[in-house]
Amino acid sequence: MDVRNTWDQWPDANGRFGEFGGRYVAETLMPLILELEAEYRRAKEDPAFKAEMDDLWTHYVGRPSPLYFAERLTEHFGGAKIYFKRDELNHTGAHKINNCLGQVLLARRMGKTRIIAETGAGQHGVATATICARFGLECVVFMGETDVERQKPNVFRMRLLGAKIVPVSSGTGTLKDAMNEALRDWVTNVDDTFYCIGTVAGPHPYPELVRDFQSIIGKEAREQILEREGRLPDVLMACIGGGSNAIGLFHPFLEDESVRMIGVEAAGHGIETGEHAAALNGGRPGILHGNRTYLLQTDDGQILDAHSISAGLDYPGIGPEHAFLRDSGRAQYLSTTDEEALAAFQLCTQLEGIIPALEPSHAIARVGEVAQELGKDGLIILNMCGRGDKDVFSVAKLLGVEM
């Protein structure tokens, strides 16, 4: 594959990362996404946009997030030094708010007054509802019926923040159906509504703009590790659902050839069982939700339901830039089963006093092997993209503890 000289040139003018990405939407939405792209180009050049963003990042979100040396986890594995990029310390407890803030500021520039979003675990929904509350905007969150039941605390949180929750029962009532329903709402309410997509997927320009907003993670991490260690890391690791936290960490390092990148997908009950969410390791290219990417699908091109212990990774696709990074060999993608993630969740909590979300627990489950392979001179940055408060009830249940 021709990757030319720089990773920064992607996506191209057609919204493509190599053969992935694009704008596969109904015609009703085409003028809207073209307008969004034009507005995003203007915003990027506008110092006032950046200044407003920086100010809120610092004083509202709490950036920069620390880069923390996980000393006991490092000792435990006896290999490379492991650092956590602590995006779980952000306001609302995950990296999601980095993106929501950017998109809602864009929506305001465009004069949109109603924000819609899809959510799985509820983290993106909470982050969107939070920013909407901050700016006094109407917020409607689409959530699969089964997730509404599984994620009651986040549903309540969103309601407290003034958002309207629409439980989605169409299809199979999961995250992908919530996204379908959000798209249906958007084609219906084209004049006043802005669709705030939660990950680096969807039609162009979403994968690009979500990546750009999340790249604050990698930009900070790059400066922080140079200051702490005087050199670049050997490996970056992050969990992958749609892949926004991973791309946020990876992207600012793409030109640094010595830096390896490892994304970790959710293998659910095991890829061989068919019950997983590992689109790259267990899927093939297809077209869904506005972009061409790796998807879990049948031989006949019907989309399969994903499965993961972590609702945040429970999606049958993956951001198109990850599909591109994988096929070009720039990044590598491993996977972690539910059981391994649960063990890593407990290990991190006990050794570091940090309760990770189940999502980054998937990355933690693979970090030991990588650390040992690199040896003591190695350096790893792992993105701690969310905290585990939201997961304590489901983990208790899985461990057979009555609460």
Partner: protein, 275 residues
């Protein structure tokens, strides 16, 4: 040959000084035999062009009625190859009624554009409407269609301004499908007066016949739309008969109900004299 069948259908209607009736049904809903009977009933009762839905798990431009139709067809394991086989069966006895496959990109992409185009041609398909393949993304498929003269039928909407319409018209053939409302299939209908200007613009820019759909359910609505457009598309209202048939267990109700509705709609449309 295929595009000619579509053109001929518009020519016949023109000779009768009327608009065409385009009827939609979901293939395999509730089963393929019923779909075949329904196709014949639609044709026999005045449907000029028939759109055959290819089911997809994630129909993000469809409202509840067509979503459920797709799920029923999928529950019945209807594959894209079955949809093509249904077309081939219909073509054994009908060489004139244009058949359009309407659906989403992934099943077609999964089969492969080249393979699909050839199979569609062999089966006797005249064109396709792939909802999530806007002009920016259909060049590859169009290249394959060109080998067989298959039509790429595009959608235009109230959000399609004139500059955009030029893009939509580029490479389109057969007719243009004007979606009358911003919304999903089966939702509220548009005021024909409000979209008459858009339709005029669509005709002028594309040079193609323009059919209007989304939200048209009754003869009265169809007649209103026939005043401003070259054709009227009705979908959800037909699909509801398949649902009723499925729920009652009496599958013959699908072709009967669809035939009766097609009769009512075609009569209403014929009542509007076109210049």
């Amino acid at each position: 040959m295929p595009t000619e069948r579509i053109t001929a259908a518009f020519d016949r209607a023109k000779a009768d000084k009327r608009a065409v009736l385009v009827a939609y049904l979901m293939a395999g809903d509730p089963d393929l035999e019923t779909s075949f009977q329904s196709l014949c009933a639609l044709r026999d009762n005045g449907a000029d062009i028939i759109e055959l839905g290819a089911p997809f798990t994630d129909p993000m431009a469809d409202g509840p009625a067509i979503q459920r139709a797709g799920l029923r067809a999928l529950a019945n394991h209807t594959k894209l190859t079955d949809v093509l086989a249904l077309v081939a069966r219909f073509r054994e006895t009908d060489q004139t009624t244009p058949l359009i496959i309407m659906g989403y990109a992934n099943p077609v992409h999964s089969m492969g554009y080249a393979k699909f185009a050839e199979a569609a041609h062999v089966a006797g398909v005249d064109g396709t409407i792939i909802v999530d393949l806007p002009p920016e993304e259909d060049a590859e498929l169009r290249g394959e269609y060109a080998k067989y003269g298959l039509s790429v039928i595009r959608l235009a909407t109230p959000t399609t301004h004139e500059a955009r319409m030029k893009k939509v018209a580029e490479g389109a053939s057969g007719f243009l499908y004007f979606v009358s409302v911003t919304g999903v299939t089966g939702a509220g209908s548009a005021d024909p007066a409000a979209i008459a200007g858009n339709i005029e613009m669509a005709k002028r820019v594309s040079g193609l016949p323009v059919c209007v759909g989304f939200g048209v359910k009754t003869g009265a609505q169809a007649a209103e739309m026939a005043k401003v457009a070259d054709g009227v598309v009705v979908g959800s209202a037909f699909v509801e008969h398949a649902e009723a048939a499925h729920e009652s267990g009496d599958l013959a109700r699908a072709p009967q109900g669809m035939g009766a509705l097609a009769g009512e709609l075609s009569k209403a449309i014929a009542g509007v004299a076109k210049p």
